[in-house]
Each structure stands twice: as C-alpha cells, then as structure tokens.
Symmetry: none
Subunit: 231 residues, 4 copies
Amino acid sequence: MSTRTPVRRPARPKPAPRPAKPARRRQPQQDRGQKRFEEVLDAAEQVIAEIGVEDMTTNAVAARAGSGMGSLYRFFANKDALVAALAERYIRTMRPLTEYAERPELHVMPLADLADAIVDPLVEFFRSAPAYRHVWHAVNQPGSKSVFDCQLHESVVASVSAMMSARVPGAKPKRLRVHAATAVELVHGMLSAAFAAPVAERQPLINETKRLLTLYSEMIQTGDDPLVRLR
Amino acid sequence: MSTRTPVRRPARPKPAPRPAKPARRRQPQQDRGQKRFEEVLDAAEQVIAEIGVEDMTTNAVAARAGSGMGSLYRFFANKDALVAALAERYIRTMRPLTEYAERPELHVMPLADLADAIVDPLVEFFRSAPAYRHVWHAVNQPGSKSVFDCQLHESVVASVSAMMSARVPGAKPKRLRVHAATAVELVHGMLSAAFAAPVAERQPLINETKRLLTLYSEMIQTGDDPLVRLR
Amino acid sequence: MSTRTPVRRPARPKPAPRPAKPARRRQPQQDRGQKRFEEVLDAAEQVIAEIGVEDMTTNAVAARAGSGMGSLYRFFANKDALVAALAERYIRTMRPLTEYAERPELHVMPLADLADAIVDPLVEFFRSAPAYRHVWHAVNQPGSKSVFDCQLHESVVASVSAMMSARVPGAKPKRLRVHAATAVELVHGMLSAAFAAPVAERQPLINETKRLLTLYSEMIQTGDDPLVRLR
Amino acid sequence: MSTRTPVRRPARPKPAPRPAKPARRRQPQQDRGQKRFEEVLDAAEQVIAEIGVEDMTTNAVAARAGSGMGSLYRFFANKDALVAALAERYIRTMRPLTEYAERPELHVMPLADLADAIVDPLVEFFRSAPAYRHVWHAVNQPGSKSVFDCQLHESVVASVSAMMSARVPGAKPKRLRVHAATAVELVHGMLSAAFAAPVAERQPLINETKRLLTLYSEMIQTGDDPLVRLR
DNA sequence: TATGAATGAGTGTTCATTCAT
DNA sequence: TATGAATGAACACTCATTCAT
C-alpha cells in the first residue's frame, strides 16, 4: 500500500473543437471515444509510415496522437491489437475499391481498362495510406501466421475472387482462389515495391503492374496456359 | 513484435577478407576467422528462419553459434551488419543460379522452359535457405532504405537485366531495368508468398509464378503492350 | 506482485459523518452519500477478498461498486484511505464481538468456555469477512507503520485489555498491554493462517488456537511463569 | 532492424577487491557469478527490509546492488524469482538453527530452556535478517498460494515436526503436523509482531513468545487438553 | 453531484553492445 | 584473440489520480 506523488496537469489534451454539430449526432460519449480512437489510429499510421511497424512504439504513437498512454490502451489491448485495428480500418477503406461485383460495367470492359480500374484506385490508396504496405506485410508475417490466416489478406482475396468468378463463370473455385491469391500478391507486391522505390521509378513500376495484371487476366479468361503453349 | 530505437550506424564494411598473402601458407588464422564468420552466419540463418529478422537476437545467434558475443561483434559491427552479411552471402550463393549470361542455351530456349530454368533453382534456393525471404524483406524495408539501395536486390536485378539484354538485344537500358526489377519483384514476391503459405498452397503458387514469368517474358520479347492491345 | 512508489499522504481523515443535524429529516443527501460510501467499501471488500490488498485496484473497486472513479475519490482521498476506511468499518463490526467488559458472565466462565466465547465469534467474523485478514495485515505492515500505529490493531488490543483487566484485577497496566497484544497477535495470526490454509486444515488450527488461548489465559490468571516453573 | 546509440561506460561496476585468495578457490568464473548473485540478493534484502516486498522494485534492487538491470535478470527470471531466491537463502540460513534432531541435548532439556534454545537463535535471525518477516509473509500469500504450498514454510514446519517427533515418540503424524504448524505460526507471528513493533515493545513480546511456546510444548508433551481440563 | 475518459509517471523486463578477463 | 558477464537505455503496459462534462 502506498501512493504516487500527485503531481498533475501539464498537457491539456486539446479542447476538441466541438464538432460543429454536423447533423450526424452520435452520443457525445461515443463521438469522443470514436474520435480518440481514430486519432490514435491516425497517429499510428503516421508513425508506421515513417519507421515501420516494428520500430513503431506505443509511446511514440500516444505522443503523436497528443494523448496519454492510457488512452491508447483504453482502445487497444496491446501493440498488436493496434496494428490489427489499423489493418481493419484498411479493410473498410478498401472495401469500396474492391467491390467489383457491384460494378457490372467491369465485367464487360476491355482487360487493359479493367487493369486501370483496379490498379488506379489502389495506387491512390497506397499513396494516401503510406503505412499500408508496412501493415500488409506485418499482419502477414508474425510468427507462424501465414498470409492466409489474416483477415486483411483474406478480405482482399475474397473480393478479387468474387470478381473473377463473375468474369470466368465456369472456373473451379479452387483454381479461382489460386488465381485470386496470385493476382493479389502480384499487385500488392508490385505496388509495395513501387512505393518503396524512389519516386522516379514509381510510375514505370505501376505501368508494369498493369501490364502484368492484364496479361494474367487474359490468361485466365482465355484459359491459355503459357507453360503449355510456349514449351 | 520487438522494438528498438531507430538509430543507424554505417555498418562497418566487413574486415575485407585480408587479401590473402600471395596465395600461400599459414592461413590458419584466416581460416579460423573465416570459419567463425561462417558459423555465426549459419547460426543467424537458423535463428532467422525460425523467428524472423526482427525477433532474432544477437545473443541467440551467438549462443547458437557456440561462440561468445565478442566473436560476433568482432565480425559484425552490429545487428544490421550481421543481417547485411547474410544478405551478401545469399548474393554469392545465388550468383551461379542467376548467371544466365553464362548459359547461352537459355537464350534460345522456349519461354516456358526458360521459366523452369529460372524458377526451379530459385525454388530450391528458397527451400534450402528458409531465412532468405526474411532477409530479403528486411533488407528492403527498414526506415528510409528503399529497395534500390540494397546490394542484394541490386545484384539480383543486375543478373536478370543481363540475361534480358541478351534475349532482347535492342532494348533500351532503362526499359530493361524496369523489366528486370519487375521480374525480380514478381518472382520474389510470389515465391515469398508461396513459402509463407501452407505447404498445400505452395506448388500451385509456384506454377502461377512460372506462368506469370512466361507471360511477362513473352511480352518483353515480342514487344507486345497489353495495355494497348487489350484496350 | 504489484508495485508503487512509497510516497505517503496523510490520508484525509474521512469526511466525518456530518454530525447529523439534531437527529431529524432530510437525510436523503447524507443517506445517499452514506449508501455510496458503503457500496464502495463493499466492493473493495469483495475485491480484496479475491485478490488481496496489493492487487486490488481502485478501478476494479469503482467498477464493482457500479460507480465512477470520481465517487470513490469523493469519499477516499486515495487507495490507502480506502483500505483504512475498510479497517475502520471492521473495527465497528468487531466492537460488539469484543465488548467483553459488557458481558459479566465471561468473567466467571471456565477458561475453555471463555476461549470458545472469544474465538468462535471471531471465526465467524473471519468467515464472513474474507478480506479481513488481508486488511489486518496490510494495515499493520506498510513502510514504517508498525502494528501499534494502527487504529484497527489498537482498538482490538484495547478491548482485550479491558476484559483481562476485569479478570485479573491486580495486574499492572503495562503487563496487561503486553498480555493483550500477545493474545491478539496469537489469535489473529492463528486464524489468518487457518483461513489461508486449505479448508481441511482449518478446524484443527482453530482448535489449537483455542488451546493456546486457554493456556495463555490460565497462565495470566494464575500468575504462573512457565519460564520459571519449567526451567 | 535498427540500432541503439552506442553511448557507453559511465559506471564501472566496482573492481571487485580481489578476494585475497582465501584458500577456498572456486573457479573465478563461478566465484564472480556467485558474488554477483549474493550481492543482488543482499540488495534485495535491504530494499525489502525498508519498504517491503510489494514496494520493492527491481530497479531499486539493481541500483542498490550497484549493478545493471541485466545482471539482476541474469540470475533471476523475474521479480518473484528474486523473492523466492531470497526465501531459499533464508531456508539455508535457518537450517542450522532448526536442525533440532541433530542436537540430542534438546530432547532432555527443560521446556523453558528449550524455548530459549529455539527462540533465541530465531530472534537473532530476525534481527539480522530484517527482510525475513516480509518475505515470509509474501511467499505465503500470493494469489491462491496457501501457507502450505511454500518451501520456506514447509521447510520450517518439517524441522519442527522432526523435533517434536523426537520428544513425543508416540504422536500420530497428523497431530504432529498440526502441532508443528501451530508452533511455527505462533513463533513467526509473535516475532514478526515483535520486530514490527517499536523497540521498547520488542523484548516483552519475545518473552511472551517463549512463554507461549513453553506452555504449548508442555501441553503436547503431557498430552494435556486444556479445552477439556478447563471446562 | 456523479461519471468515467484521460493522464503519465513508474514498473518489470529485454537485448544490443561493450570490455574485463 | 575469445569469452560471456555486465550494462542500461528503451519498451510495453498499468493504474492511482484528476477533471471536463
């Protein structure tokens, strides 16, 4: 039994600009909480974008968020949970980009245009979420967790799979999954490389990404097997 | 998820294998040193294969190598240098696999066979060096280090570039580099995914890797641009 | 094992039960306050019974009490004050059990029956207040606080002292205090051990407690000094 | 992957006064280690004596020992292990004091003298090991661990049990254990109280301890049951 | 007045790195 | 030259306490 020195009150956390009553009132409680939550997530995103997932520290995130450690741990059970939450936010953000099934025009579009339609939003996403490639990699690596255990990965593959299934109706589901996983790995890998590379290299790599995706789509759609044809 | 402060140090360039007096006698010193060096590297490789680069500790490596910390730090200025040295050893190991220029038969081989000729040895390499994908990634990520600052990456791209240049004599060097970087990223990304995935998924992913590589090679060789053709 | 810095603060003496205006009306305020106060104390008691004084957290207590942290700190200056308040409530609860002076029949009872009369209610008390032994110990240990600084201890010793003084009229007060302190320590120590032990061991230890107390009482009453007699 | 700032070398750990070759050479390695081990334990003992087990911090202990945190954790897996090690050292220190079986003279000694023979060394021990009562309590409390799970307690009870068995040959083992546990609790509780109390109160409490122990021994030896006799 | 979100100093613990031996 | 004990800065995380609402 003992007591802490009761020193107090240096850093007022920011008076919170009173959300200007945006007509979309949630309970103030919830709003505040949600706000904090997002602030911390934003801070984590910044820090990760700068130094990567492994070097990110919870202290740095809290400091960046302008909040105390306790706030961070109110929302996230631990560092991993914080990264996972960021991954989930990415899932939500990406969902609209990958709801190909909802956009029937994609199903009849020339493959090169389809590649644009798929890659361009992703490029924009990578640009606007510079921590994404770090998180993508981190949640796919840890320990024995393979790429296939992770919701982020799963979610993206599922979307792509759905679209492919629409374009190639007769395909066997298992084949489809392999194609989808491949396409996802292809695009993610290439874009990760593109955004890790010096800006000058970026656009060429993006273009190659589209070419590869187009070729791969063509292959799937035509049922071509280059390993047979080009032997 | 481990953590450390992100301070850099230039990573002493390695004791430079002591130019080996004319070419004779009394290399016990040197030999011993070389032996230790390799033992430590072997230990690091094992540890990394098991728990990844970030969770690898220098203590664990020294213990595994059966040597003291001092020996480790005699050879490697710091942890980063250790990983870099491992990367360089990978470069040396891979060189024979990627000296496509030396194997003229490759230049006239059907593209599907070429894909086999390229991918199969790499698959074997990934299998026999389970730390490789970790090192590849680590050495391409940290902090501001982009993919293109790294010798490992550079070395591989250069090899591929050379081979491409042989097959597509008229290509512009800059184009070639983009093609090479793309092919490297493609194959590495896919094989990393394949070896991170459950074994059952491995072979299908390897096959897709070959298909993609074949398609991409065909594209380069024929000068086809799917973004134009399939628009 | 939790930990905290050992800084002391005088433990605000408790809001002093607001002398209760003459004795009438409108105690809702006071009542509400009193109710909360007791609820928090109940919650603390439960938590302490489960995990001990050191591992009890104010957050857990407030949560268990169904009140906010603020309420808790309205009544208790700090964690120590909370425990102290619990100790004082124990004093009040125990008072009836230890008002031996008020029960003249005790003064002429055979010593074995007296031991029953003393120990049995205490056993019942230990059973019904499973936090008691934790509080007893906590309040007797910390830092430089000796057993004798504490009201809980003092209060119990005083009661016992009073009774002894009734049975052994001629005794010197100082002697009496030592006897009383010894008897208290004896009974508390033994019962604490009994209730910390597996249930199977409990009753035997309680019986030994009574035997010891009987022997000790006999010694005091007869003026026997075993250290002389059995030399 | 990253690196720490390599700042270094402020606090040389103490040149270790070169043990003056005490003829009892262990391997220097082992000696150094043993020395450190004991130093840390000594430091822990001091800190615990001052502020108790719960408020003791590993940092404080390391600082007191004049060593880095790492040294502490080289020897002790965690804080609990440190306390446990201290408890074990107490067991070792106490063993000679409690090897009653080895001292046949005790078995024929008058009970008051026996009480001296038992209590006096313990008093000296309590005096010389001011952390003992804290450790005793700590290792008997944690979580659900009852008094009877702990080696320290067990060890002491076993010793006492052995001696009793020598003095009261016919006793049933189960009875004996209860007697032993009672005697141990009695003496420990009383001495803890004595040493927690102001010095002035100490000696009287010690004397009462002896009286109680004498009475209890007499009871056991004579087979008297005060609960029957004094009814 | 009551609430509970927020704070942040402090804790246990790890591990890259150094250096006495 | 090799060893591995020692160092200590840094990290993840907790919880007593405060105060805006």
